[in-house]
Symmetry: C2
Subunit: 337 residues, 2 copies
DNA sequence: CTGTTAGCGCCTTCAC
DNA sequence: GTGAAGGCGCTAACAG
């Protein structure tokens, strides 16, 4: 094994004490210029790197941030991770990521794992199953700096970073209404998730504003990644309610629905307008190009991390609720001029 | 701060020495049953968790695996990460991920960062820019267990996990040829990457087998994520070579090309057949559904990690080269029955 | 300016 | 069975 050199090794070769070497290495003023020069020279030659484990033990800080998200391979979260990494690494922090796979049980384990690892702070987006939040409350009790993002827990007093869920679905629904749609189906996410609730509220509020009826039959509570899309689609057509628009909780669902709608010889957007959510990289190239909502994943990750670092630096840093703006991208699936 | 209890704390409360407590906690045989019971009980009450930092310092192992990949948010790599995490966490390892953002300079930093963090092993997929591999050779010199996957370095003597790049492009090209295509354009990845080279070889070999000419004008060396797709497409049409098929290095490029081809009133697959690479989640729902190659990302991540863990457990474990099979998924963009 | 001592939390001889 | 001592690598307080 190419063992790493230690302060002791350097001290021995130079006939110095470890303290002097340590001081020279950390640029302490009380070291003779010549001594410092020698130490630094040898350190470079040996490719000395301070052992972060030893430093952690001493300083009781690991310079590691823990992240708990439902799934690394979901595009929203993988982009958020990019944002988290960017801010963290600039600040000299490492990141340790755990996926809950949308299971509370695994989420509980993740919390335990990261607490055991003595991370300096935590960034969390809760699982789809999370209702009981005791394991999360425990973190806050320990006063470990923590930021929730996207899938937050409203009942927990902590810093949060969310998208403008209500406003953006309101705006997208309004877009459908003002372009002449009247019976707009809504494929909702699981209603225990903060996001999904707020988004559904935005949809309903827009209908109300324009005095359109809220028809519960047209609201489908789906799972996250568009399972059973065929079932929903068949259901909507069998209703015989002459729906003229569909607003889906994610692009995956929207795209599969368009596929199924076209198979029925129904036209998009002429007969049915479709809007998705997430603005996936491919959505612009569909036929027709998919209107969607740009969910600011990268920026949410960045902001969450910035806030977390401030909490770590200052334990008096006040709790914050940050809202990141989403963007409605109108393409041909919802409106053809 | 909710300070974590230590062995010392438990020892003090029980009027025992730290050694005894330590022994009780690690289930050492030389401890009186009653003593052990008391220690375990108190440990549970205080929610004692051993400090992994201290353990690391002692054992000179961190139980952390380092991962260096080009970009967390590219779907292939985010799926590979899932596979890595799955195996690692089952074995009690944490994972520390760094993105090189396809830059050698950042990759060098990543190596340094992870070496400094004293990870127990390393999983690497090199950046697009990586030509000089000194920084990677250094890792092997240190005898740090390391596995390369997908984007490997052929010149480095180390364990590797790759897809059957040659075989699968050969097979896809053969599929195009046997369904009647003769002038097949190929959008290649950067040729310094192992994958891209092997794939291009597979394409050429298939043409040769069927005695079709290799026309360099039809081979375009692109970047990873389909930049300049419009330029390539215009170029191919302006060639006036009557191309009847396109094999693209990724689905993103394939899909955008189909979009552009359709705008020219040219039909897919009747006039031009298209095959992509990666089998993205959306590709089945395009119009027409995209033929693609299923690149076994998750499994490659799993396999790489399993091999790494074996290297860590046994430093005599011999170097391995594993090939994971890809799958050709034929949909309507390449063949309509 | 430099060295000695002590301690971060844990485990592992060695001694009784 | 149990305790005391020492050390993993580093730094900070205390002496000179």
């Amino acid at each position: 094994m190419g063992m790493n050199p230690t302060v002791k090794d350097i001290a021995a070769k130079l006939n110095l004490s470890t303290s002097t070497v340590s001081r020279a290495l950390t640029d302490h003023p009380d070291v003779k210029k010549e001594t410092k020069r020698l130490v630094l020279k040898l350190a470079r030659e040996l490719d000395y790197q301070p052992n972060p484990i030893a430093l952690s033990l001493k300083k009781n800080r690991t310079y590691i941030l823990g992240v708990i998200i439902p799934e690394t391979s979901i595009s929203f979260f993988s982009k958020a991770i990019s944002g988290i990494q960017e801010v963290a690494s600039k600040a000299g922090y490492q990141v340790m990521i755990c996926s809950s796979h949308d299971s509370v049980d695994i989420e509980r384990q993740n919390v335990q794992t990261l607490l055991n690892s003595r991370v300096d702070g935590l960034i969390i987006s809760v699982s789809r199953e999370t209702q009981d939040v005791n394991h999360l409350a425990r973190i806050l009790d320990k006063r470990l700096p923590t930021v929730f993002f996207d899938r937050i827990c409203e009942e927990l007093q902590s810093t949060q970073v969310v998208a403008d869920n209500f406003a953006i679905t309101f705006r997208a629904t309004e877009h459908l209404i003002t372009t002449g749609r009247k019976r707009i189906a809504y494929i909702a996410g699981p209603q225990n998730l903060y996001n999904s609730r707020k988004r559904l509220e935005g949809y309903k509020a827009a209908l109300q504003k324009y005095k359109l009826p809220i028809d519960d039959d047209l609201i489908i509570a789906s799972h996250y990644e568009g399972e059973n899309v065929k079932t929903y689609t068949d259901y909507l057509f069998n209703l015989n309610r002459q729906i003229d628009a569909i607003f889906a909780i994610n692009d995956r669902t929207a795209i599969e629905m368009i596929h199924l709608i076209k198979q029925r010889q129904v036209k998009v957007p002429e007969d049915i307008a479709v809007v998705g959510f997430n603005n996936e990289r491919f959505s612009a190239f569909f036929d027709p190009p998919l209107s969607s909502i740009d969910h600011p994943a990268f920026e949410m990750g960045k902001t969450a991390t910035e806030l977390l670092l401030q909490h770590i630096a200052d334990d008096q840093f006040p709790i914050q609720k940050k809202v990141i703006k989403s963007d409605l991208i109108i393409r041909e699936s919802s409106f053809k001029s």
